[in-house]
Amino acid sequence: MKREAIILNPKDNVATAISDLEAGNVVEMEMDKNTISVTLVDAIPFGHKFSLSHIKSDSPVMKYGEVIGMASKDIQPGQHVHVHNVASARARGDLAKEAK
């Protein structure tokens, strides 16, 4: 079967779609010879990410086995993970300005 999404590292809590995926699809992915299966809550466009597990607000979003940002709200498995629910921690001049 053609791969539909990629998990890069066992620590990751998101996967990246490598085709356009519809809500309700069950996506199966390989990680360390295990098959991980997630039912999509949202439609996920090519190149976008979805959650593999429940990610609590203010906890790290992991890709490449590294932190790519913090969840700005609770994220359910299969939900679209992007700028609407991930906050970057770097080069945040807006936050520095508010803190002054």
Partner: protein
């Protein structure tokens, strides 16, 4: 393996054999362009800098022009100056130190644009003829430096095209050659990984320092950097934060130790993998790679960045199948993101393509002529 290159007096080898026609200041760009259009074999370098700037920025501009002039892909350099931007003798001397011929024409001294174009074209014709007497010969891979860049990225860049290019870099460095990559904003969130790979603790500290310096510039703007980097296009394509973009970007240089960190416009010494401080924006980032001495550039793109460079071939690599199809006139190499090929195999294929281009195979950007709008990065404003 080896490639067919043009031997230069300083022992380096070019993958192309142009006469560089450089504007030393933005105000000389028209004349430089006219000369380059009139004389086949010229490559113009035009930019928006060189006047109304304070000393640190002027130093970057002049250092970059000298380093660009020393790029092995140029058989000679003609400098076109307005005049009132200040003397350019030190730029001439810096380039001439490499042993290649350098000449100048100064618009205000010679009596205007028409006279400067006529005299510049006369000089250029002679210099192109002289340069054409250099013939390609077989050159060892250790004399090759690949510049690496990613632009108009999407998530496929970090998943497939950047790691494949990184595998090609590892192959070249294993043969004694060099690779260099920059884009300091795209180290933010991944600098700890790069610092761990530094060849010495001092180099590791310098990596952290250039990222910190760049982040402070972003913080001083008082806004969230998102939208500028990752750009609006990056975000629409699925990149959510600078951390995510950086983690996908740093793999493009491969996995060997980082031997030095260069300032913008500097040329590294020795062989191996180098890092360069500078912006992500294409026209300024590619200039720095050419200035560092790269004779060929591997450029990964997800969404489709068309830029080349006037005298360094730029190979466009994508792992986005839609981009490969829609923008095929811009894409030189496709990495099948859903395919079975190993990273090592993909790296070998990209390395072979790089040697073919280094030996003369023309890239899509060269054939389109999509090469004429580079620029030089400065850190301050214009007064």
């Amino acid at each position: 393996m080896s490639f067919w290159g043009y031997p230069r007096p300083d022992g380096s080898a070019g993958t192309r054999n142009y006469l560089g026609v450089f504007a030393t200041v933005v105000c000389a760009c028209d004349v430089a362009q006219w000369i380059a259009k009139q004389v086949p074999g010229c490559a113009p370098f035009l930019h928006h800098q060189g006047c109304g700037q304070t000393e640190p920025d002027m130093e970057i501009v002049h250092r970059t022009l000298v380093s660009l002039g020393r790029n092995p892909n140029l058989g000679g350099v003609l400098l076109v100056s307005l005049g009132c931007e200040g003397p350019i003798d030190h730029i001439m001397e810096g380039i001439a130190a490499s042993g290649k011929p350098v000449a100048k024409v100064v618009i205000q001294e010679i009596g205007g644009a028409s006279a400067a174009t006529a005299e510049g074209s006369r000089l250029a014709r002679q210099m192109v003829t002289d340069a054409s007497r250099t013939h390609q010969e077989e050159v060892d891979d250790s004399k090759l430096m690949i510049g690496v860049k990613c632009g108009a990225s999407d998530t496929t860049s970090g998943l497939a095209s950047n790691p494949s290019i990184g595998a090609a870099c590892d192959i070249l460095i294993g043969k004694g050659g060099s690779c260099i990559f920059g884009e300091t904003p795209e180290m933010m969130g991944a600098e700890h990984i790069l610092a761990r790979r530094a060849a010495s603790p001092g180099i590791g500290r310098k990596i952290i320092e250039i990222v910190d310096r760049m982040e402070k510039r972003a913080l001083s703007m008082g806004v969230d950097m998102r939208g500028a980097n990752p750009s609006r296009g990056n975000i629409a394509a699925g990149l959510s934060s600078i951390e995510e973009k950086s983690l996908g970007a740093i793999v493009k240089g491969g996995s060997t130790p980082i031997k030095a960190v260069c300032e913008y416009g500097e040329r590294p010494e020795g062989n191996g993998l180098f890092i360069l401080d500078g912006p992500g924006q294409e026209p300024k980032a590619v200039t720095a790679l050419a200035a560092a001495g790269a004779q060929v550039i591997l450029f990964s793109t997800g969404i489709g960045a068309p830029h080349g460079f006037p005298f360094v071939p730029v190979i466009k690599v994508t792992a986005n199948p839609k981009t490969c199809q829609r923008l095929s006139e811009h894409i030189d190499f496709y990495v099948d993101i859903a395919g079975e090929a190993s990273l090592k195999e993909l790296g070998q294929a990209i390395f072979e393509e790089t040697l073919a281009v280094a030996s003369g195979k023309r890239t899509k950007a060269e054939n389109l002529g999509y090469v004429n709008f580079p620029d030089i990065w400065v850190t301050g404003t214009t007064f």
